[in-house]
Symmetry: C2
Subunit: 179 residues, 2 copies
Amino acid sequence: MSESESRLFLVDELPGFTPQIGRLVSMMRYVRHTTLADAAGLGVEQLDYLHDPTSNSIGALLLHIAAVEVAYQAITFHRRDLTEEEENEWNGALDLGDKARRGIRGHDLNYYVKRLEGVRADTLAEFARRNDDWLAEQTPFWGGRRANNHFKWFHVLEDELNHRGQIRWLKTRALRDSA
Amino acid sequence: MSESESRLFLVDELPGFTPQIGRLVSMMRYVRHTTLADAAGLGVEQLDYLHDPTSNSIGALLLHIAAVEVAYQAITFHRRDLTEEEENEWNGALDLGDKARRGIRGHDLNYYVKRLEGVRADTLAEFARRNDDWLAEQTPFWGGRRANNHFKWFHVLEDELNHRGQIRWLKTRALRDSA
């Protein structure tokens, strides 16, 4: 078992990160582990499965998870929102809905895993350069209420979990309907 | 705006708790705020809505969220699992599935909110008596791998978020089908 696997059920400090960032990364790693475990083995048919006309596909949800992380890299590391060009690059994954339903199709699981991994590597590299004072920094956020970077990154993982719950539900139906 | 509302987007220390427990409680409060916001306004018909024969109702998911919290109170505060009698009290909410589909029906939203609030009050009272050393305590857990109390309580909130994602998805269909 790798060191990272043996630490999967620990929320704790991590080598290479300041104490609070380490605990946050522990949580993000566990969450990602479960997301990828749920997606493991799915084929293009299941990844593209649309349960009904307003449902998102599992593939679109996976790309959404990566796109949200990119958006919060911009917000917290560079203090800006995604540009329209960047949003277009993600093919509607940030907002989901019709554009994502039309545009995000035909990819195998490896495509989504690579996108997720590429984004995550950037996040961890930026975290490694920062410290707990940065994590506690506050700015006005939703509705003008103050939010710190710790909350903003917690939101990234809580949005992933929200969609992981949907992926689990959709996966059962996608596998059943394609059986 | 109350002090608690003004802190909704902060993951930070909290009065009455040690530093790491405070950050954990910050996250749990935000998660619960979103769960209740998603359930707000739902009637019995929507709470009992079954999308298909293997789907859980929103009511059962809400009771499941409370039951998981009770189970982790037993595991982390009292170092034991729920007894069969306690599991029965929760009417299948811990395991969901058929028993929950049959047994958890006909309650209004207030019933679920009160159950959730009662359980949460116990959790916060127990947290207030403990400290960060307790939160870091490890025991063998899933598959014998070591897990600390911090992870176990993170799991409680991550399971809630997983089901909140399903509640959001089901709610859209429940409201549409009952319109």
